[in-house]
Structures are given as structure tokens and as C-alpha cells.
Subunit: 374 residues, 2 copies
């Protein structure tokens, strides 16, 4: 038991509330941070989060705060649960308060999150002795009504995780496996970044159900939203994603196999497997088309995948067309906003150098690293 | 009155039944042809079509047949109402029986229909003294339960039409304006082909409502299916279409203005205008994703538009992404199946030469025309 580990959870959304509540329920010291104070108000008096669903119980938090310095003071592990759009910003905000050896875990990193946060800290702190890890997906399927309670539909059986530097992955797992034994080591953050199944399950079903979502009539996102034809599109996108993984010599499994591994789903194809994943039952579709499933998963998952594919000379017509439609529907230039290979520092690197960057967070070849590391 | 004109209507689908019924009701001699005999069985005894909705009454047909020779024998005007996928085939089947001076009207041609039929007849008959016209859209919003009755939601106020050769457009209009005064002359078939609003209104709302359509729960296709975000995509596609039109020096109006002109719709944007187009009320979405709205409008409307845009050096990201998604969802290579600029004989032509081809159905520059015309 490692009950002396102190956690900070960043973000009081669905995931953050569930994670903070669970860690506290398991006896750990937990601070919960949220950028806006309003969201925390219901928690200020009792500081207690109630969990229902697969996990039942309650946990009492140590601190509930919108002061980042106070939130991460003396904690060992910082669990980031905010959308990827905020990763770089929160890294900048934490930078002045971080102490060497603290561990940041992105839950999840989407594609390239750990690399982006690591680079941001490198720039802000000149040197970087912070471990930045990313989980390949969020550990729960969860919905929270407010900051005092969360309903956990299901915990995933297995979630891979990698750290920068990669030599610290096992160390991170050792610390957190006591409370979350589901985390398993990935080779490096390229593996967690390419095995990003939100990229497959979030934008396309949302777009292909645009009308229904915008009419505001609720429906089950996975069970009803992923019809056989929608599943066909997902399978095409997923095969493009796997092709990127193969080129990068990364271990990757299909979205279908991943559903089997994570939730015990089963079936002959992706459509059947989704239907036979009870964890997804009851998860409602977003109430608007302007959702994280578009505004986060397109620029921070699909855009970097497409961009890396271009570097590798791979065509991704299904992924690219979903980005195109998302740009049109959201009226945003996601390819400009998003994490491109260029922004992640991957451009001009060989595949071996990409892995070196992923494992070390820097390679001497890149001039701006040299300048800042000395 | 030109009651001595004899019509043949090809195709006993929604549109064909309504058109045949109306022409007969107005006192014209009408033959109705359908490829499969089964569809005609309910009509064999009484040969009478009942119309409800905007037009109420009934019309008695002359012949009801699945013999193409019998169907078009001694008729003046042949109204083609079958999907564009069948245009070339029906042209081949009619070729041996056609008599000089007969008029074929495609209702509608989609994009490039008249050109394709004209070329097919040129190849089949060596010389071509048939007039081939295309309407820019179908004249009715209509649904038919079976071949004996159709419900006409609304006739459009105005439908443009062009003939090959273009010098015969006025002659064709003179013949049919007696019964259909809504038809107005277009400059040439490039104009009717680019002003193809089915390309805008059919594939994208279907795809962006894929889940709902495939779940089989009925909804109003236009009123419910075209939400503000879906309308944004349509406006983007429409602006790409208009850009093609401008480059081709074709008169074109936006889909929004077209709704105003055709149905008296009104509003500040396309979404509002669709909502304020009562003619669209009650028109249900297709019951399957494998619908004409995909299998016809993608290869015979969007594919030729994209292909012409490429010739002209115009980018069409919204149109192209809808084609991409349609290919994935339908599992068909619509760009290979469809009417490309190459297949329409437009490749390598200047814009002036494209109009020459559109007006004459042939230009001496193209070798295969020279060979076959002599």
C-alpha cells in the first residue's frame, strides 16, 4: 500500500470528479483543482464526492481550489483530466510551482499530449525534471451531474500509459498501480498517442448523427449512434490509424479488439462489438454538435494522426474527410489550431528519431532544444 | 392547346407516376413504361392514376408497358424519370426504336445527363437527330405509394431546361409549356447541370443523419434533417458549386435563392429558408442509408461537379469530403462509377469549347466524334 502518495486532480468535469472521488475513497490525500471557482462551489462545504454505478461509495477531499499553486503543492502525482485544448496552458500555469520529481499524468493525452506538455515545461522552466506521462484513454466511462457526485458506468480493464522519459514509465506505474492496477506500460508515448480510440469513437459518430444531436432529442451515443454504416466509417478510419501504427513500428490493435480488451465487448465486426459492450449502455449523446467530441478530438487526435500520416507518406481519406466535415460544421480551421507533426517537433525526423524524441522528450538534432537545454 | 402531343413517361417511381397521371389528367395521350413489369401490375386493369395533394384528380393512360419499343412508338416527347444511373442504359435500349425528331427530356439530368444520353445515342445510331433535353430538377416534390396514386406536395414555380442542340431549347419549351408553364430556358446544359440543387440537398443531410436513418425512426427529411449545422455544410458545398458556375460563366443562384424562386421559401440563411418552405413539410427521410440520395446524387451530381472543378483548378473541400464519406459508407468507388469530366468529354477543352460541346453535343476537336459523325 502506498497510502502516503498525494494526488492532485486537475479538472472537475465528468472524469476529474470520478477520479478524485475514487482516489479519496481509497484513502489517498487528494486535492481537486478547477479553473473556474463556480464549478467547485457545491463541494466547498463537505468536500465529499459520492460515486454510484460500478463503484459505490464516497471520498473526502483535502483541498478544493482554483489556485493552481495551492493545488499542486506537495503532491506526488498530478492527474490532468481537462480537455487537450488546455494541456499546454495548464502546463504553463503549473510551471512556476512544479518541483523536480513531480509526476504529471494526462488522462488521456489524446495524440501528442505528453510531448506537448513536456516541451512546454522545457521552455518555461529551461530544464525539466518533471515526469510527464499520458494514458491512452480515460479509465472510466462516466458522467457527473455536478462536482459532488459521479456515475461510473464502467472502468476499463486495461489502459496503457507511457512516460517521458520512457525510462520512468515503470516507476510511474508502480506508484499508481496500487489504486489503478489497470494501467499497463506502453513502449513510449507514440504508442499511447496512436492507440487513441477516442479519435475513432468520438468525431465520426457525432458528425454522422449531427441532425439528431442538434434536434436535441436524446439517444444512446454508442448503442444507437453507431449503426452498421457508421461503424463502417469507423472501421475505415481505424484501419488508417493502424497503418500509421505499423509504419511507426508501434503495437496497435483494432478498435474492435480494444473494446474486447477494455470492456469485454464481443462480436464479428465493430458494429456487433459495440452492441455487445454493456458498459456503453446508457451513455447519452452530447446535447450539442459543438462538443468536445469535435472540438477536442478533431484537432488533438485526428489532426495529428493525419499530419503524421502525411510525414510517413500514408493516405488517410476517411480520417481526412471527417476532419473536413468537422471544420465545415464547426466553422474552425482545426488543421491550423490542432497538434500537427510540425508543432510536436516530429517533422524532418526519421522513424527512429521520432521514437527517440518520444522516449527522451528532446533530441539534440532539433536546434531549439539545444538552445533551451543548455 | 397542343392536345395532339403524345407523351411517354419512362419510370413508374414517385416522379414518373405523378407526371404520367398529371399529363393524362390534362388530356394528353400518355404511355407509361417501367423496366420491371411487377410495378405496373396495379395499373393494368384501370390504367388510371389518382393524384392527391396540390393537384387533385385522375388521369387515364393509353399504354402501360415494360416493352420499350411499344412505349415510345409514335410519341412526341419522352419524359425520363428514372435515376441517373440508368440514363445511359435506357438510351441504348431506346436507340433502335427512336425516330428522328423525337424529344427526350431527362427529369432531371442531374449533372451531365443530357450530354451522356446524347453521346450514347450518337454512338448507337451513328447519327443523331433526336433532341435530348434535361431539366435542372424534378418539377414536383412528390411521394407515390404505388403506381396507381401519387401525392404531390408541391410543384416548383420554375424549373430551367436546356436541349442539345441548344437551338432547340425554345422549340421543346413551346411544346411542353402548355401543360408545364414552369419550364424556362437555360443557356445550355452546362447551366442546368451546374444548377443541380439535388447535389446540395440530397447526399449531405442523408450522411449527417446516417445514424437516425439507419435506426429506422422516421423524421422529416428537410424540416428536421437540415439543422443549423447541417445547413452550414450545405451552404459551404453550395458556395463551391457557385464558384464552378462563375468560372464556367453560367448564371447560377444560391440554393437559398433557388428555394425562394422554386417554392416561395424565405429566411435570412439556408436553415431559416428551409424551415420556411412549407412544400418540404411532411417529406420523410429515406428509410435506408443505401438510398438514391447517395447512390444517385453522389456519382451523378457531386462527382461530375468535383471533376469539373479540378479541370478548372477550383478546390471543393466540402463537396469532396461528402464524396469521401459517401464512398466509405456505401462501400462504392463513386469517383470511378460516376460521371467524370473525362467521361463527359469535357477534359482538355477550353471553357468556350465546353459550351460548344454543351450546345451542339459534339465538337470537331474530339477525334471519336469525328469518326462517328461522318
Amino acid at each position: 500500500m502506498k497510502r502516503d502518495i498525494k494526488y492532485c486532480v486537475i479538472g472537475a468535469g465528468n472524469g476529474g470528479v470520478a477520479m478524485a472521488g475514487y482516489l479519496a475513497m481509497m484513502g489517498y490525500s487528494v486535492n481537486l483543482y478547477n479553473r473556474t471557482h463556480e464549478k467547485l462551489i457545491p463541494l466547498l462545504k463537505e468536500k465529499t464526492i459520492n460515486l454510484t454505478g460500478e463503484v459505490t461509495g464516497s471520498g473526502k477531499l483535502d483541498k478544493v481550489t482554483s489556485d493552481i499553486g495551492e493545488a499542486i503543492e506537495n503532491v506526488d502525482v498530478i492527474m490532468i483530466t481537462i480537455p487537450a485544448v488546455g494541456h499546454s496552458k495548464i502546463a504553463k500555469e503549473m510551471a512556476p510551482y512544479l518541483k523536480d520529481g513531480q509526476i504529471i499524468i494526462l488522462n488521456p493525452g489524446r495524440t501528442g499530449g505528453a510531448l506537448e506538455v513536456y516541451e512546454t515545461l522545457l521552455r518555461e522552466r529551461k530544464r525539466n525534471n518533471i515526469i510527464v506521462a499520458e494514458a491512452q484513454t480515460f479509465i472510466y466511462a462516466v458522467r457527473a451531474e455536478d462536482a459532488t457526485q459521479a456515475h461510473i458506468f464502467k472502468s476499463k480493464h486495461e489502459v496503457s500509459l507511457a512516460a517521458i522519459p520512457a525510462t520512468k514509465t515503470d516507476y510511474v506505474l508502480e506508484l499508481i498501480n496500487d489504486v489503478y492496477p489497470q494501467f499497463t506500460p506502453a513502449k513510449d508515448i507514440l504508442e499511447t498517442s496512436i492507440n487513441n480510440y477516442g479519435a475513432i469513437f468520438h468525431p465520426a459518430p457525432t458528425l454522422l448523427n449531427s441532425g439528431h444531436i442538434e434536434r436535441g432529442m436524446p439517444f444512446d451515443y454508442y448503442m444507437e449512434g453507431i449503426t452498421p454504416s457508421v461503424a463502417n466509417v469507423l472501421e475505415k478510419m481505424d484501419s488508417e490509424r493502424m497503418e500509421i501504427g505499423r509504419m511507426l513500428q508501434i503495437e496497435t490493435v483494432s478498435a474492435m479488439s480494444w473494446l474486447e480488451d477494455s470492456y469485454g465487448g464481443f462480436g464479428r465486426d465493430l458494429y456487433e462489438t459495440v452492441q455487445n459492450t454493456p458498459a456503453y449502455r446508457g451513455l447519452k449523446a452530447p446535447g450539442t454538435i459543438q462538443t468536445r467530441y469535435i472540438h477536442e478530438d478533431v484537432p488533438y487526435s485526428l489532426v495529428p494522426m493525419e499530419s503524421i500520416a502525411i510525414l510517413l507518406g500514408i493516405k488517410t481519406p476517411a480520417i481526412s474527410s471527417i476532419i473536413d466535415i468537422a471544420e465545415t460544421i464547426a466553422g474552425k480551421e482545426f488543421r491550423k489550431i490542432g497538434r500537427t507533426a510540425d508543432k510536436l517537433g516530429l517533422e524532418g525526423l526519421s522513424i527512429a528519431e521520432m521514437h527517440l524524441l518520444a522516449r527522451q522528450g528532446r533530441i539534440s538534432k532539433k536546434r531549439y532544444f539545444v538552445e533551451e537545454v543548455v
